[in-house]
């Protein structure tokens, strides 16, 4: 099957700072990729570069064969890039339902389907975005991204700052999305052991460069590698 996403020699940053240098990766249709790494190695920058909110220095980003690297964010979104930002960035003055419908595009992920998927959101559909708890905000951020019916879903540290019980619930959601629904996506995570079982492949960044790429299952089994790059101890 052809690659949905192909990044070649991407260097990017913010303002004068260069964060990513010469990153390449490929993602086939239906594949989920985990991007791992310590704090500040450029994981978020990678996501932001695909979304289009960084300054690109060089390299190409092909989505379904079309180079989107020079397009503004709204056009990338129209071509199928869906984004769940790290800070969630719920529209606080809009209601839950409006958060979703304000950006929705036609496709299998209708409002109804998003609500079926996240019953909690349905309950709170008329509340203001600002009134949601952290976990609910994360659900809404994901639901909102799904409603744009993306070909590629980007999740930036979805479990960050959530209570353990909520994290478990979230992981079930992600499993359903990437394992059962077969969505294509990239998940940036700190908690490697939690996310690797969900994804197909994994990639480790260090100082803006790719230091390891391989199957998720293999990485999960390679305790030494996890220890070396991520400081994750066995357990």
């Amino acid at each position: 099957m052809a690659d949905l996403l192909a990044i070649e020699g991407l260097s990017a940053g913010y303002g004068r700072a260069v964060v990513l240098s010469d990153v390449s990766l490929r993602l086939a249709e239906g594949e989920a990729l985990a991007v791992l790494g310590r704090n500040g190695v450029g994981k978020t920058t990678l996501i932001d570069s695909i979304v289009g909110v960084t300054r690109r220095i060089s390299g190409s980003i092909l989505l379904g064969g079309r180079d989107i690297a020079a397009l503004p964010p709204e056009q990338r979104a129209a071509l199928g890039v869906g984004w769940v930002p790290q800070e969630r960035n719920i529209f606080r003055s809009l209601s839950v339902e409006e958060n979703i419908t304000a950006v929705a595009r036609p496709g299998p992920w209708s409002l109804q389907r998003v609500f079926d998927f996240f019953p909690r959101l349905k309950e709170r559909r008329h509340q203001a975005g600002s009134s949601l708890s952290g976990g609910e905000q994360q659900m809404l951020a994901i639901g909102r991204a799904l409603a744009t019916n993306p070909r590629l879903l980007l999740l930036d540290e979805p479990t960050e700052g959530l209570a353990p019980i909520i994290v478990e619930e979230l992981l079930r959601v992600l499993t359903a999305l990437f394992r059962d629904e077969g969505l294509t996506g990239i998940i940036v995570e700190q908690q490697a052991r939690k996310i690797l079982p969900i994804t197909h492949r994994a990639l480790i960044l260090e100082r803006g460069q790719v230091v390891h790429a391989g199957a998720s299952g293999e990485l999960l089994a390679d305790a030494a590698m996890l220890e070396r790059h991520l400081g994750v101890t066995a357990g």
Binding site: E74, T101, A145, T148
Partner: protein, 283 residues
């Protein structure tokens, strides 16, 4: 203590006068709240529309509602042109104050150049018509103004609530970068909104021509009170703007009926300061 009839009549005339505040505040509130552009030339545009209505009506005998058909689209186009400048030069909130202030001055000079500084009055037989309900008199023109303002405010409110474009605009107003990343083309929507704001100024101008006597310097008479209305009604909230306008109109009127008419000018800003003291995060 004034009689109930007097109080009721004052309340009616205040609410109806407040309709004009609300109508003028509508466009201003939209561009300030949703585009973060403070458009001081809004008043100048309204007066330009009023002068055009006067000109067409007096010299070519075109009824104001027909002139409006011409003037309102023209104002919409002016709004687009104005926004082209904002867009082209990436104007921010502070710069927009300065630029639109300058636009207003230029328009004022242009108006004075063509129509002179002398008063212009568009006399119509219906400008002072009214009808009686119980002991109260209701002026027809102001009532129509309020109905139009109400329909516009309510329609705009629904549009912002219910349509994709409206919700996208609100999302973009809150966080333009995030909204763009979700595919909201903020730029196009901003043009639409700027055009709408100017068109609303045009509609307000049609009524100004019928209700007020025109002089170029009067562009500035509404500024203070309408600013207060925009804030009290909460930025970007069309229904809020209308209600705040009527609230201030009614307060001014009651102050004039019960206290001394000389108190009226302080009412709006006192109200504003009280509201801001009560809730500093009102905006």
């Amino acid at each position: 203590m004034p009689s109930a009839t007097l109080l009721g009549q004052a309340l009616i005339s205040g609410v109806l006068a407040g309709g004009m505040y609300g109508l003028l505040a509508l466009g201003l509130s939209l561009s300030w709240g949703l585009l973060r552009l403070v458009n001081l030339s809004h008043f100048a545009l309204a007066f330009l529309a009023a002068y055009l209505t006067y000109e067409l009506g007096t010299n070519y005998h075109v009824a104001p509602w027909w002139s409006a058909m011409l003037i309102v689209p023209a104002m919409f186009a002016m709004g687009l042109a104005q926004h082209w400048i904002f867009d082209k030069f990436k104007v921010n909130e502070l710069a927009s104050l300065l630029i639109t202030f300058s636009f207003a001055i230029i328009l004022e000079v242009a108006i004075q150049l063509y129509w002179t500084a002398d008063y212009r009055r568009y006399e119509t037989h219906y400008s002072t018509m009214s009808f009686k309900v119980g002991p109260f008199y209701i002026p027809v023109l102001e009532l129509i103004l309020c109905l139009v303002a109400g329909v516009l405010a309510w329609g705009t409110w629904l549009w912002l609530r219910k349509t994709y474009v409206g919700k996208a605009l609100r999302a973009a107003a809150e966080d333009a970068d995030i909204a763009a990343a979700y595919g909201v083309d903020h730029k196009k929507l901003a043009y639409l909104l700027s055009g709408m704001g100017a068109a609303y100024a045009g509609i307000a101008g049609t009524f100004i021509a019928l209700i007020a006597t025109l002089a170029p310097a009067q562009i500035w008479t509404w500024l203070g009170v309408v600013f207060a209305v925009v804030i009290i009604g909460r930025l970007g909230n069309p229904l809020g703007a209308l209600f705040a306008g009527m609230l201030i109109g009614a307060s001014e009127s009651i102050a004039m009926a019960v206290l001394s008419p000389a108190w009226a000018p302080v009412v709006s800003f006192s109200l504003l300061i009280v509201i801001l003291l009560w809730d500093p995060e009102w905006l």
